[in-house]
Each structure stands twice: as structure tokens, then as C-alpha cells.
């Protein structure tokens, strides 16, 4: 096939046409756009499409290969599920922001060069921020601005790296980079990518912004930005040891915060860091099995994390809060939401028969295969924290536990939201039962069988005994209505402290300096002026006057030969001229 319609195009054009439609036609159109994109991805053949030339650089809009396709598949499926979940929203702008966001993410996936990638990369940041702002609360507006500033910073790192890379190699082609060849340009690009993947310590934008987004917007946000970053890391930086280490650190860091957080969406947001950590670690380990695992885990993760955000969003939508300390006993009022949330929770925890089991274990097994037992142990520790926080803590304290103090008169959310959750839950189950469907999409051939005895035993021991510890220590885990600090403190409170430091130390110093200048500086200036004046009168004026008198004398001489007194004026003029000149200078 020679021509192919880029799936992003459907989203961009669809977003622009959306405001022209009304009523049911609009709702149908919102669902039709992702379906058209799914058809476009299904029809794609491997190859290079949409080559263009700009300022002497060759750009590629459509690089279709196995690595970009596995992400594209899950992106368009997720776009459909997200659009279905958000179908009840009335504002066109919200749907348009979602479409521009998904379109930009797809544009970034298929980009074959850094320039094209950069344009869509920025497009993602600028469209997704509206999904935060549309919540229309003061906190969301502020969080949105911080989100945007942080991503602009990341974009600048990427841009600086890209320019230096062009200077170094004379090309902007986006291909795999060998760790041995990497220097400043590559590491700057890596830092820009790592920021979007929420790699420590560039992660704080994520738990800051996502929990402040709209109920529907968070479902989109949790899927695309971090996973696009995982894709570009897998494309460009597989085998970078620093990613293996930082990714593993992320997995444990994320679950530690998920254990102590109170707001369900903050638990889930921190947990994204943990899950993306697995993928980053997989990319860092860099073997075919590990990169396969990263791609498979991204695929599975997008679905179950979206499902969890849908569940948490439904709770927020129906009860007005997502804070565990104010929830409890919801199973009576929102039974379907509970079932779908639990499917998401067992999927993310890696229960056999659900998607996490067949994807996460690929990365853990890859670490095991490479003899990296410490990495493997840390990844399994994060697995414990996953089941503990997202699986047990949230499920227990939101849906069971003590009845909330204020009676919750909630019920299950609107039909479109239930359908979206149901379909997503079904996919999580299908991937778990038929992993070959997912493995067939992966970039490298798969020789991995998740359902073997050793792995089943390992997974079941970890899950069951985590359950036992939860049962014994459940009181310790009671959610507290608190806010936990993170590194965003440095730019949220640190800047305020700097302002105080400015007011208390720098400003008084400035005043003191002013005083010093007024007393000492001005006195010196006056003295200097006096001296200049004396010099002016005695030395300069003498010279000038002397010259003038000479001219006058000369004039008197001339006068005798002339009638009129013009020469006197010339002398006077000269005198005035020098006097003015002196004053001005």
C-alpha cells in the first residue's frame, strides 16, 4: 500500500469539526473519530510515509514499524474508551482538547525525526493542560500552570539536545543510540524524555497535576504522556544502564507514596510513577525480552490504569470526593463501579488471568534471565506495594471498611461511564487469558510463557502473603487526611521562602546600600562637583576667556577695518558655545 491516512489526522480534523455538530450527531461523531483511527491503524503496513523537507532537514510523519504499532494500537483503543467515558460532558472544548492530545501523541509515535517529534511533543503538553483547567477550580488552574511550565522546561531540554545533536551529527533522524556514543546532546534529549516519563527527580508534575484534572480528563492524561515517553525511550535509549536503575527506583518510590496517600487519584498518580518505572527499567535492561516487556506492560498498563482512574473518577463524580478518609462502605451504593475497579486492581497487581500477570512478569523475568537478582527483588517489592496500596488499601477503605461519617447517597455513574469501564475491564481479562494476542504485537519475537509453575508460585506467594500482612496491619494503613510533601515543595514553597529571604535579607541590604550611597556617595559627588567648578572657573574659563579675549582683540583690530560690531558677537558666541559645551559634557 502506497498511501496511508495518519490516524492523528482524524483526531485533528475531528476536533475542528466537532463544534459544528449538535445533539446526538455530536455524540456519535465523538465515538466515530476514534473508530476511524482504529481502522487507520488496522490498515497500516510497515514502511515510511509522509516524508517532507524543511530548512534542509528531512522530516518523517509516518514511520510504521512493530514498535510504533504496538503503542498505536493501545492509543487508539484507549482514545475510544476515553471518549466513551467522557461522552456525557457538554463542553466542546474538553472533547477537542482530548482529541488534540491523542492526535499529538499519535503524531509523536509515528515521527521519524526529532523535529517532527518535538512539534507533537509540545502539542501534547499544550492540549493536555486544558483537561486540567476544565475542572475550573482554583487548585486546578494553578496545577495546570505548574504542569505547563514543567513541560515547557522538559521541551527546552529536548530542544537544546536536538540542536546540539544536529550540530554533532548533521542529521535529525530519530534512531537508536548506543550508550557508548552518547554525550551531552544525547543526554539532554534523554533528560527531556525522562521528564515526561516522570523519572525521579523530574516526576513531581505528575502527582501534582493528574489528581487536579477533570474526572474524564484524568483518564486521558494517565494513558498518553508517560507512555509516549516510554516509547521514545525504547526507540532511542534502550540498554542505558541509568534507566534500569532509575526505573527500579521509581517502582519502589511510587508505591511508598501510594501507601501513605489519602486521595484515591493521588494514590493512582503516584502509582503511575511506579508502573512506568517497570517500563523504564525494562528499556534500561535493553534485551529483546525486556523491551518486549516494556511495550507489553505499557499496553496492559494503559488499559488497567485508565480503568482505575475511571473507577476513582466515578466515585469523585458521584460522591464529590475521592478522599479515602471520607469514604467507606460504597459497595452498597456503587456495586458495578466496585467490580470494575477490582478488575483493574487485580490486573495491576498481577493476578493470574489478568493483564498485569502476563506483562509485568516479562520485565521481572528479563531481569532474572540477565542475573540481575537485586533489580528483580526490588521490582517484586514494588509488586507487593502495588497490591497493598491500589489493590487492598483503596478497595478496602473506599468500598468496604467503616461507613463514611457523612452518609453517601451515591449510586453507580451514568451508562456511558459504566460501559467504558466494562469494556476496559473485559480487555484486561482477555489479555490475561489470551496473552498471545498481545505478544503477537510486540517488537521482538516472544518465547515467553507466563503460565509456568515457578512463576505462578512466585506470584501467588507474593500476593497472598501481602494479603496476610494487610489483614494483620490494616489499622496501621488507615488513610489520614494529610498532605505529603514531595520535591515539588522546592518550587511551590521554596520560591515563597526565597521571596521571604528577599524581603528580609536582600531588601534591607539594598536599603543599607542606598543609605551608604546617599551619605558617602553623594558627599563625594558634591565635593567632586565643587572641585570641577573651581577647575572650570580657574583653568578652563581662563583658557576660554583668554581665547575669547584674543578673538575680541582680534575683533577690535578687525573692527577698526570694519563698520558694524559683528566681531564682538562672534567672540561672545564662541564663549557661549564653549560654556554650553562644558555644561553639557
Amino acid at each position: 500500500m502506497d498511501s496511508w491516512i495518519h490516524p492523528a489526522l482524524f483526531f485533528f480534523v475531528g476536533a475542528l469539526l466537532l463544534p459544528l455538530l449538535r445533539g446526538k450527531a455530536k455524540k456519535g461523531f465523538i465515538l466515530l473519530i476514534p473508530i476511524a483511527a482504529i481502522a487507520s491503524v488496522a490498515s497500516a503496513q510497515n514502511g515510511i510515509y509522509g516524508v517532507y523537507h524543511f530548512l534542509g532537514v528531512e522530516g518523517v510523519f509516518g514511520r510504521v514499524d512493530k514498535l510504533s504499532m504496538v503503542f498505536a494500537w493501545v492509543f487508539v483503543i484507549m482514545a475510544f474508551l476515553g471518549a466513551l467515558y467522557a461522552l456525557h460532558r457538554e463542553e466542546d472544548g474538553h472533547h477537542m482538547a482530548g482529541f488534540f492530545y491523542v492526535g499529538s501523541a499519535l503524531g509523536a509515535l509515528f515521527a521519524g525525526d526529532y523535529l517532527t517529534l518535538f512539534i507533537f511533543w509540545e502539542g501534547m503538553a499544550f492540549s493536555s493542560v486544558f483537561l486540567i483547567w476544565y475542572r475550573r477550580e482554583k487548585k486546578s488552574i494553578e496545577a495546570g500552570f505548574r504542569y505547563l511550565l514543567f513541560h515547557v522546561f522538559g521541551g527546552l531540554l529536548f530542544f537544546a539536545g536536538m540542536m546540539l545533536y544536529y550540530h554533532k551529527t548533521g542529521s535529525l533522524a530519530f534512531n537508536s543510540i548506543l550508550p557508548a556514543n552518547a554525550s551531552w546532546p544525547e543526554y539532554l534529549i534523554l533528560a527531556g524524555f525522562a521528564l515526561n516519563a516522570a523519572v525521579l527527580p523530574l516526576h513531581a508534575w505528575l502527582p501534582d497535576a493528574y489528581p487536579e484534572a477533570t474526572v474524564e480528563g484524568a483518564v486521558f492524561l494517565c494513558a498518553f504522556t508517560t507512555k509516549t515517553a516510554v516509547y521514545v525511550l525504547a526507540r532511542g535509549f534502550s540498554g542505558f544502564e541509568i534507566l534500569a536503575i532509575m526505573g527500579t527506583a521509581m517502582t519502589v518510590f511510587g508505591v511508598c507514596y501510594a501507601v501513605i496517600e489519602n486521595d484515591i487519584r493521588r494514590v493512582l498518580a503516584y502509582h503511575i510513577i511506579s508502573q512506568v518505572g517497570y517500563m523504564v527499567a525494562g528499556v534500561g535492561i535493553g534485551t529483546a525480552m525486556a523491551v518486549n516487556g516494556a511495550a507489553a506492560h505499557a499496553f496492559a498498563h494503559i488499559l488497567y490504569k485508565a480503568l482505575l482512574f475511571m473507577g476513582a473518577g466515578s466515585i469523585l463524580y458521584m460522591t464529590g470526593t475521592a478522599k479515602l478518609s471520607r469514604l467507606g462502605g460504597l459497595y452498597k451504593y456503587m456495586p458495578l463501579t466496585m467490580i470494575f475497579y477490582v478488575v483493574g486492581a487485580v490486573s495491576i497487581s498481577g493476578f493470574p488471568l489478568f493483564s498485569g500477570f502476563v506483562s509485568k512478569s516479562m520485565i521481572v523475568s528479563a531481569a532474572h534471565h540477565e542475573g540481575r537478582i537485586w533489580l528483580m527483588s526490588w521490582l517484586n517489592l514494588a509488586g507487593i506495594g502495588t497490591f497493598l496500596s491500589v489493590g487492598l488499601k483503596v478497595t478496602y477503605f473506599a468500598f468496604f471498611g467503616k461507613e463514611a461519617a457523612e452518609p453517601l447517597q451515591a449510586k453507580d455513574p451514568p451508562l456511558n461511564m459504566l460501559w467504558a469501564m466494562g469494556l476496559t475491564a473485559l480487555l484486561c481479562f482477555l489479555i490475561g487469558v489470551f496473552p498471545q494476542m498481545l505478544y503477537a504485537l510486540l517488537p521482538f519475537p516472544v518465547e515467553y510463557h507466563p503460565y509456568n509453575l515457578a512463576h505462578l508460585s512466585e506470584a501467588m506467594q507474593i500476593l497472598a502473603f501481602t494479603g496476610l500482612v494487610f489483614y494483620l496491619m490494616v489499622k496501621k494503613l488507615t488513610p489520614e487526611a494529610k498532605w505529603n510533601l514531595d520535591v515539588d515543595w522546592f518550587y511551590r514553597k521554596g520560591t515563597l521562602l526565597f521571596m521571604k529571604f528577599d524581603a528580609k535579607v536582600i531588601a534591607p541590604f539594598d536599603t543599607l546600600w542606598g543609605e551608604l550611597y546617599r551619605t558617602l556617595g553623594l558627599r563625594a559627588l558634591f565635593k567632586n562637583a565643587e572641585l570641577s567648578y573651581a577647575f572650570d572657573r580657574k583653568a578652563i574659563d581662563g583658557v576660554v576667556d583668554g581665547t575669547a579675549y584674543s578673538v575680541m582683540d582680534f575683533g577690535s583690530v578687525v573692527k577698526k577695518m570694519q563698520t558694524g560690531k559683528i566681531q564682538t558677537y562672534i567672540g561672545l558666541s564662541l564663549f557661549l558655545f564653549f560654556a554650553i559645551l562644558w555644561l553639557v559634557l
Binding site: 508505591v255 511508598c256 507514596y257 501507601v259 501513605i260 459497595y331 452498597k332 456495586p335 458495578l336 466496585m338 467490580i339 532474572h368 542475573g371 537478582i373 528483580m376 527483588s377 517484586n380 517489592l381 507487593i384 506495594g385 497493598l388 509453575l453 515457578a454 508460585s457 512466585e458 501467588m460 506467594q461 507474593i462 500476593l463 497472598a464 502473603f465 501481602t466 494479603g467 496476610l468 500482612v469 494487610f470 489483614y471 496491619m473 496501621k476 494503613l477 489520614e480 487526611a481 494529610k482 498532605w483 505529603n484 510533601l485 511551590r492 514553597k493
Partner: protein, 82 residues
């Protein structure tokens, strides 16, 4: 609603569920001990019920350390940032 009835029924049988859970845990450990270990290369594969011990210790420490650090200096009032 059926789901509600099932949950209420299970809640009423909490004591039996507890016994079933403990039996299940015991069975898991037993199974791991009986598992063939011909291609075990590393200590995580060789030690009997390694992941049981790992989960017990890991989960306990994860709760203790996370909550400990939170109480030590991470936890602030909900409106800390205003």
C-alpha cells in the same frame, strides 16, 4: 442486586473465609516446597518459599518505613499549599 447479596453472604461467613485463607496460604508454601528446581540458578530460586518470606518481610517494612517517613516529616496539613 446479586452482587450485594453475595458480598453480604461472604461477610456473614467471615470466620470460615479466614480459615480458608489460612489453608490456602499453607497450601501455597507446601506447593513451592514440592516444586521441581532443576534449573534454579540463583538464591531466589533455591530457597524454599523464598517469596513467602520476601512478601512478609517486604510488606511489613514497606508499611513501617513509608508510614514512618510520612509521620517524621512528609505529612502536613491538607491545606499546606493553601
Amino acid at each position: 442486586m446479586n452482587v450485594l447479596k453475595i458480598i453480604e453472604y461472604l461477610r456473614a461467613k467471615a470466620a470460615s473465609l479466614k480459615i480458608a485463607f489460612f489453608v490456602f496460604l499453607g497450601a501455597l508454601v507446601l506447593l513451592d516446597i514440592l516444586l521441581p528446581r532443576e534449573d534454579a540458578h540463583y538464591f531466589v530460586d533455591k530457597i524454599y518459599a523464598f517469596w513467602t518470606l520476601f512478601a512478609l518481610a517486604g510488606c511489613f517494612l514497606l508499611i513501617k518505613i513509608s508510614k514512618g517517613i510520612a509521620h517524621l516529616f512528609l505529612s502536613k496539613d491538607e491545606d499546606y499549599y493553601g
